[in-house]
């Protein structure tokens, strides 16, 4: 299910003194099954884009096509809302039901899915996020922060979306929590072939997961391409005011001394180690 964003603009509070254009003339194509990262500073229009892609907002201008469904400024009912799952920032703050089971089943129930099927989905979802089934009868508020976040994620996965939007999924988690969540995302993408739209400030996450990355600045797309392309050109990063991933930073430091420079397209420590090994062997042979 491909996504095509065609020359859209979005204006908040049109016709009031607080009128503000959050996105202007943005175009973007997201192929089905890829991980698309979206990065940009606060106020760059990321949240608005999430709202539009998830069908919660209509563009003021232009159109968005998801699969067969097209949405413009005048579309009444947005048809693709149920195909797009959104996990907002700090999703554990949106839990509400007495039990984990009830909370996860909220989405599928709203979709009008038969009870038997809902049960299957809840069990499947809790399994996907790596939580034990014994938690299903507990109150979500008795769980740890990391567990609550995974329950919230399960609540979205139980709706079986073909497109999954994740807004800062690791915000506020410590290393173990973040790592669990990232490998979960990776796993989901591999296993379920869903399109994942990852909104994040963490360049390490972008480098590790994304196939394509969009950079927003003041409501406009200033870059769209592969992470390698983005992170290998240091001057552009500086101009965008962005930090490279931590491994790229280390390579940059090494390159202050080492010639010819190590390529900045390496995003995994193993790759860097292998590269250095190779260089050392070549060096010893000379």
């Amino acid at each position: 299910m491909d996504i095509h964003v065609n020359d859209i603009s979005y204006v908040y509070q049109k016709g009031t003194p607080f009128e503000e254009e959050a996105l202007s003339n943005l175009s973007l194509s997201i192929q089905h099954g890829i991980i698309q990262a979206i990065i940009g500073k606060t106020g760059s229009g990321k949240s608005t884009l999430i709202g539009l892609l998830s069908g919660l907002l209509r563009p003021s201008k232009g159109s968005i096509t998801v699969g067969e469904d097209k949405v413009t400024a005048t579309t009444k009912k947005i048809p693709f809302r149920s195909k797009v799952g959104v996990v907002f920032q700090y999703p554990e703050h949106q839990l509400f039901a007495e039990t984990v089971y009830k909370d996860i089943s909220y989405g599928p129930t709203n979709q009008g899915i038969p009870a038997e099927e809902i049960k299957n989905r809840v069990y499947h979802a809790i399994d996907l996020v790596g939580l034990d089934e014994s938690l299903l009868e507990k109150s979500p508020f008795s769980l740890s922060g990391g567990q609550m976040r995974r329950v919230a994620l399960a609540g979205v996965l139980a709706m079986e979306p073909s497109i999954l939007i994740l807004d800062e999924p690791t915000a506020g988690l410590d290393r173990i929590g973040s790592e669990q969540l990232l490998s979960l995302i990776h796993h989901l993408h591999q296993q379920k072939q869903v399109t994942i739209i990852l909104v994040t400030h963490q360049m390490d996450e972008v480098a590790r997961l994304a196939g394509q990355v969009l950079v927003l600045e003041k409501g406009q797309a200033v870059f769209n391409g592969s992470p390698v392309e983005l992170f290998s050109e240091r001057s552009r990063l500086d101009k965008l005011g962005m930090e490279p991933p931590s491994l790229t930073k280390l390579i940059d430091r090494l390159n202050e001394r080492i010639h010819p420079p190590i390529p900045t397209s390496l995003f995994e420590l193993d790759q860097l180690v292998a590269h250095l090994e190779l260089r050392r062997k070549v060096g010893n042979n000379e």
Binding site: Q13, R81, G85, V86, F88, Q94, A97, N110, V156
Partner: protein, 264 residues
């Protein structure tokens, strides 16, 4: 933020913006009584004229005032219609099988809707030109004498100021939670009243929880900044009446005299 909120402060530097908030608050309060003294065309015209001058002085676009009338428009129209068809007296202007409209009905309808309009616009002038913080301060100082009868004026004012501070934050939070539940397929727009209320539960519960969490954290932060109630506290904001504030007394008396003289 959604559409323009009634009572939102519009920053500016007009004569009205610069008046002392206490003076404005008192003036508007007394003006409300004055509205009820008007009882004929000339007195209402004076009020309208005065409101028009205030709008001009405020340097705020008229469209915004229209916006503040919108939410009460339904009530204005409803009461006007009621007066139009229920009041008897004077010549019959229009007769239908269901009701008759009399001259007196038209008069009453016009006066009642005028009263509403003037009231709402005047209140908007106050809130458009006075920041909520100034209003809180004004209220605290005007109510100061109540401290003598053990009304916790300081605490009430602090509560109000914290409330003002957090309204936009909680509003944003509500929008966020609402969006999250909408994305999970919440249906907030159809069904009868009970169904709709039930549909809002997944929004209210997280909102309550987060408000409690905020309250707890805020209390800690206040304590960390040496807050311990009103004991030995000084005050940063100081309100001072200036010449133009006293002019309000003159303007008010002028209005009283004119309306007293012209009313029938």
């Amino acid at each position: 933020m959604s559409r323009i909120v009634i009572g939102q402060y519009i920053p500016g530097d007009s004569f009205l913006h610069r008046l002392d908030p206490r003076a404005k608050l008192l003036f508007v309060f007394l003006f409300f009584f004055l509205i009820f003294l008007a009882n004929n065309i000339s007195t209402y015209l004076i009020l309208y004229l005065f409101v028009a001058i205030c709008i001009l002085l405020s340097q705020i676009r008229v469209r915004l005032f229209l916006g503040s009338i919108k939410p009460v428009l339904f009530i204005i129209i409803l009461t006007s219609i009621l007066h139009l068809v229920m009041t008897k007296g004077g010549a019959a202007l229009l007769t239908t099988p269901l009701f008759t409209v009399y001259e007196e009905g038209v008069r009453q309808a016009a006066f009642i809707s005028s009263r509403f309009l003037i009231l709402v616009v005047m209140a908007s002038i106050l809130t458009f030109t006075t920041s909520s913080l100034d209003l809180t301060d004004a209220l605290e100082q005007l109510l100061e004498p109540l401290k003598k009868i053990r009304v916790p004026v300081h605490e009430l004012a602090l509560m109000m100021s914290i409330a003002l501070r957090f309204i936009p934050t909680l509003w944003e939070e509500t929008e966020k939670i609402k969006n999250a539940q909408l994305a999970r397929g919440a249906n907030l727009e159809s069904g009868n009243i009970f169904k709709r209320l039930a549909a809002y539960i997944p929004i209210f519960i997280p909102l309550f929880l987060s408000s409690f969490r905020r309250a707890e954290e805020l209390a800690m932060a206040m304590e960390a900044r040496a807050y311990r109630g009103g004991i030995g506290r000084t005050k940063y904001r100081l309100l001072q009446y200036k010449g133009k504030d006293y002019s309000l007394i003159v303007i008010f008396l002028l209005l009283v005299i004119m309306i007293g003289w012209l009313r029938s």
